[in-house]
């Protein structure tokens, strides 16, 4: 039967099921198919912290949302057009997000009386008319999968497990996705288990065929490729981009990469990724704890390596003392904090931006460091390279504030040419004995004599003759670097360390403001992962004829030199953050500007629609 093909400019789909149902995998594959097809896209995986929460319960629901379009998009979308619900819990957990008229594809096999009552349904919502505002497609996904796999020599359990591939096949048909990639993927994933491999491919094809033949689906959709800037593209998550940025920085700086890290959600994938890259000379050290991870990275940096540590909030708290030591001994160190909802354990798999003030100030004494935040998953690559540049050039710890949303979310990335990447080896050099000789020709090394431009101290690595020296956390005499308790020296060193960080602002360019009409009265200023949501919201306002300016901070320390002027040139400044107003506090303190703070801390990114109405409100109140 030939079906009607309806063109769409964008679609948001959400796969939802038990955490054991393979929804993340189905979502990943659909994303890859969509990327290969050439749509622009943005993803939002959302899963419980428990590895296998009790089956069929609301806390056990795992979902994967994907927004794809024929034009460039900024967020994973607010409200799904299609929900795949593998069980009643997945339906109940996600229904509040669905707009009227959305499609629901429900796996009827799991809607038994028992599983319905387990989450408080007294009747079956697929049948009792309570979903009349939606287009419900009742599909017996599990039993059709099992039936399609009858001929394979696998257990019933393995057959049932392939139901995610059936669902993926059906969705792939519905949105005319290319399927070769998924078949190839299954071939390699299950290469060691040929029967399981064939069964999964068969389940995937059965899902596709079901879509094509059943009358349940009368329309097939088509979303044309987006016209992105020319280049070679791939899809990439924030954590992978961050890992690759570090590897690229190591290559472009000529420094060996050393990662000291302790497993923690949602940062562990960076450790996993880098531990595979031994052929790049990358050394990964899974330490006994967070403190050892950063300590080892600092030790490696003392020896002339690119020392990096990766963590999330609780680990940041533990690393604070060592980051303070790095600030005091003035060695390069890159600290990646993949923020998650806190305080304490908080919600490990959910996103938040509440470590900003800890990154800036969370150490004893005056302990300034550079702090950068990536704006999108792909931007994690550039931010990592930039963090390394600042660290090696200024001999300072640099903290990267990514978060759970960027870490696991993905988007198409125009893969850069290696030769075009910043040449970091031009940004620094190790101290050489020839630069440190007195008039008598004897070595006269001064480990804390600063470069007049950058205020960086020399990076003299062990093995260099004549530059033997001792560093430590005790205050050092400016220049000589020997222990000093002199009051005036301490005052001067405290100011010098701060001045060094402040001076980086001359090296990062001004904050750019996107204000196309030039007559906006309201500026929306964000930082980090809210870039997409704010951008999409701003777009909505402008499409509706409104004027609004947008600026986004990548550098939180030092702040761009022109920030004060930018803030003062708008009548109102709105600062949306996924915390209780940490940047706002900083801006008010630094610039005496009465910014308007907008805060939600739900463990999720902002919805564009929500921000648009907040912006609208601020504009209206003039």
């Amino acid at each position: 039967m030939t079906k009607q093909v309806q063109p769409l400019d964008r679609v948001i789909i959400r796969f939802a099921g038990d955490s054991g149902d393979g929804m993340q995998l189905a979502g990943d594959r659909f994303t890859q198919e969509t990327a290969t097809f050439g749509n622009d896209l943005s993803t939002l995986p959302n899963f419980p912290a428990e590895i296998r929460a009790p089956a069929g319960t609301l806390p056990g629901v795992s979902s994967f949302q994907l927004h794809f379009a024929d034009h460039d998009i900024l967020t994973p979308g607010d409200a799904p057009d299609v929900l795949v619900a593998m069980n009643p819990a997945a339906l109940a957990a996600n229904l509040p997000d669905l707009p009227r008229g959305a499609d629901i594809i429900a796996n009827t096999d799991e809607f038994s009386k028992r599983s319905l009552s387990r989450i408080g349904y007294s009747s079956n919502p697929l049948e009792d008319g309570s979903l009349s505002a939606y287009r419900v497609h009742a599909v017996a996904i599990t039993s059709m999968t099992v039936k399609a796999l009858e001929e394979f020599d696998i257990t019933r359990k393995d057959a049932e497990r392939a139901k995610n591939m059936f669902a993926l096949g059906l969705l792939s048909w519905l949105y005319s996705r290319p399927t070769d990639g998924t078949v190839k993927f299954l071939e390699s994933k299950f290469a060691a288990k040929p029967e399981i491999m064939k069964a999964n491919i068969a389940a995937f094809q059965a899902g596709w065929n079901y879509g094509e033949t059943t009358e349940e689906f009368s329309v097939q959709y088509e979303v044309k490729p987006a016209s992105l800037k020319p280049g070679t593209y791939r899809n990439i998550t924030g954590n992978t981009a961050l890992a690759y940025g570090l590897v690229a920085a190591a290559r472009r700086s000529g420094l060996p990469l050393f990662l000291g890290s302790y497993p923690i959600t949602p940062a562990s994938d960076i450790l996993h990724e880098l531990s595979k890259l031994k052929r790049f000379g990358v050394r990964t050290f899974q330490a006994e704890d967070e403190i050892s991870g950063v300590g080892a990275a600092l030790g490696a940096a003392f020896g002339g390596a690119l020392g990096v540590t990766t963590t999330s909030g609780p680990g940041m708290a533990l690393k604070a003392e060592t980051i303070g030591l790095a600030a005091s001994v003035e060695l390069p160190l890159v600290v990646c904090d993949i923020q998650r909802a806190g305080p304490s354990t908080g919600m490990p798999t959910k996103t938040e931006q509440a470590d900003l003030l800890m990154a800036l100030f969370g150490r004893n004494g005056e302990s300034p460091v550079a702090v950068l935040a990536p704006a999108t998953p792909a931007d994690c690559f550039d931010t990592a390279m930039e963090a390394v540049r600042i660290a090696v050039k200024y001999r300072t710890p640099v903290i990267i504030l990514s978060d759970g949303y960027l870490a696991n979310g993905s988007e198409p990335w125009c893969v850069p040419e290696v030769a075009q990447l910043p040449r970091l080896r031009d940004e620094f050099s190790f101290a050489s004995p020839n630069d440190w000789r007195g008039p008598d020709g004897q070595p006269n090394f001064q480990p804390f004599l600063r470069d007049p431009q950058t205020l960086a101290r020399p990076w003299a690595i062990p093995g260099t003759p004549g530059l033997e020296h001792r560093i430590g956390g005790i205050e050092k005499a400016s220049g000589a670097g020997t222990i000093s308790y002199d009051p005036a020296n301490h005052d001067s060193m405290v100011r010098l360390r701060q001045a060094k960080i402040d001076g980086i602002s001359a090296d990062i360019g001004p904050l750019e403001v996107d204000d196309p009409t030039g007559d906006a009265a309201v500026l929306v200023l964000g930082w980090g992962s809210t870039f997409g949501s704010i951008g999409a919201a701003v777009r909505r306002i402008r499409l509706g004829g409104g004027s609004v300016a947008q600026a986004h901070l990548r550098y939180l320390s030092p702040l761009p030199a022109n920030l004060g002027d930018v803030l003062r040139s708008y009548r109102k400044v709105l600062v949306p953050e996924i915390n209780l107003g940490q940047l706002a506090l900083l801006l008010r303190g630094r610039y005496l500007v009465d910014v308007i703070s907008y805060n939600r801390v739900r463990g999720l990114p902002f919805r564009a629609s929500e921000l648009a109405s907040v912006i609208q409100e601020v504009i209206k109140n003039g």
Binding site: A35, T36, F37, G181, K229, P230, G231, T232, Y233, R234, N235, I236, V247, R251, G254, P256, F258, G260, L277, K278, R279, F280, G281, V282, R283, F285, A287, E288, D289, I291, S292, G295, A296, A297, L298, G299, A300, A301, F302, G303, G304, A305, T322, L325, V329, C414, V415, P416, V418, I461, P462, G463, T464, E468, H469, R470, I471, G472, G473, I474
Partner: protein, 362 residues
């Protein structure tokens, strides 16, 4: 690591060099004690045992036959941890308890360095206990010198994790409640391959233990009994007083029968359940008297030795308890990298960034 000078320079001398230093270049010239003295004024209390240890260490370093610049001394916090300032090599006086972690990162990336950790009983066994045990089990090529004075000196006299139970100090006016650690037992339990004990006042012995540690590839743990005359004077008096020392101190020498007492009249033999007991040599079946074997693979014997000092230094073995070679973490890490390069080729950055699934636009 093109910018970092590597081991090859001195490859011809490898055979002569101590076991932990085979990847470290040889010194061009003969160095002396003076070369390892920094210009900083040494500031421990008069009579502190740290002076003797520092002097022995500085006098020993030239023996390594490696350049000054390839020696790194890393410490934590405490009286002993000031030591790096006084040694004219590369050094870092870091933060409390973390020296083994910092040294691990350095040793793992720089096999051309000789890395020494200076720590104390509070630094290594209290706040830094976790790093110590993991550095030992991992067997990273670092030498850890634990100055044990059984007290907190720098914070002015609180009891430490090696203080005897019931110790009256400023923080325990009614006596300390906790059972102390036996550092040797702890190190053995942490899978250390090299474990030794020595005393600050016996320069010759101290130097011989340093020598043995330098010759051991992998983590080496040396407990040094160090007298703190200010807050815990004479803590080790039974081991140094002429009237008691001969009966108390048991000198361990690999391959030699264990003998102690003024006339060497005592030996050791296994009792029931694996513990050791003291036996008079005369009247004991010589077959049952132990000959010290530091290379015994099973640590049970070394552990039994470490328990002889209970209670109150009853019998206290000094010397190398255990010296068993096993693969080091840093060597294995380097091997994995060369292996990956041999099998997969040097990493291709462009291929990595692109990954397997790309598409073209335009």
């Amino acid at each position: 690591m093109a910018e970092i000078s590597h081991a090859d320079d001195g490859a011809a001398d490898v055979a002569r060099r101590p076991g932990s230093l085979t990847l470290v270049p040889a010194a061009d010239e003969k160095l002396t004690t003076k070369d390892f003295k920094s210009d900083q004024e040494v500031r421990w209390c008069p009579g502190c045992g740290d002076y003797a240890i520092l002097a022995a260490f500085q006098a020993f370093l030239p023996e390594l036959g490696i350049p000054r610049e390839n020696v790194v001394v890393i410490s934590g916090i405490g009286c002993s941890s000031r030591l790096p300032y006084y040694v004219d090599t590369y050094g870092m006086h870091s933060i409390h308890g973390r020296a083994p972690a910092i040294a691990t990162g350095l040793a793992a990336t720089r096999p051309d360095l000789s890395v020494w950790v200076i720590t104390g009983d509070g630094d290594a066994l209290s706040i830094g206990g976790n790093h110590l045990i993991h550095a030992l089990r991992r067997n990273i090529n670092i030498k850890i010198l634990l100055f044990n004075n059984r007290i907190y000196g720098l914070t002015k006299g609180q009891y430490s994790p090696t203080s005897e139970q019931g110790k009256i100090t400023k923080s325990t006016p009614f006596g300390s409640l906790d059972t102390p650690f036996n550092p040797i037992s702890l190190a053995l339990g942490a899978e250390a391959g090299f474990v030794a004990r020595t005393v600050d006042s016996d320069r010759k012995h101290l130097t011989s233990v340093l020598r043995a540690a330098a010759d051991h590839r992998g983590a080496a743990f040396i407990e040094i009994y160090q007298n703190c005359p200010i807050f815990n004077d004479d803590a080790f008096a039974p081991l140094t007083a002429p009237e008691t020392r001969d009966d108390r101190v048991v000198r361990l020498e690999h391959g030699q029968p264990i003998r102690f007492g003024a006339q060497g009249q005592f030996g050791l033999r296994f009792g029931r359940y694996g513990s050791l007991e003291v036996a008079e040599v005369s009247g004991t079946d010589p077959q049952t008297l132990l000959v010290h074997n530091a290379e015994e693979a099973d640590p049970s014997y070394a552990f039994a030795l470490s328990r002889l000092d209970v209670p109150g230094f009853a019998h206290t073995p000094i010397g190398v308890y255990r010296r068993v070679a096993r693969p080091t973490y840093d060597d294995a890490m380097t091997a994995q990298i060369s292996d990956a390069r041999a099998r997969q080729g040097e990493g291709d950055l462009a291929a990595l960034l692109a990954g397997p699934d790309t598409w073209q636009v335009g």
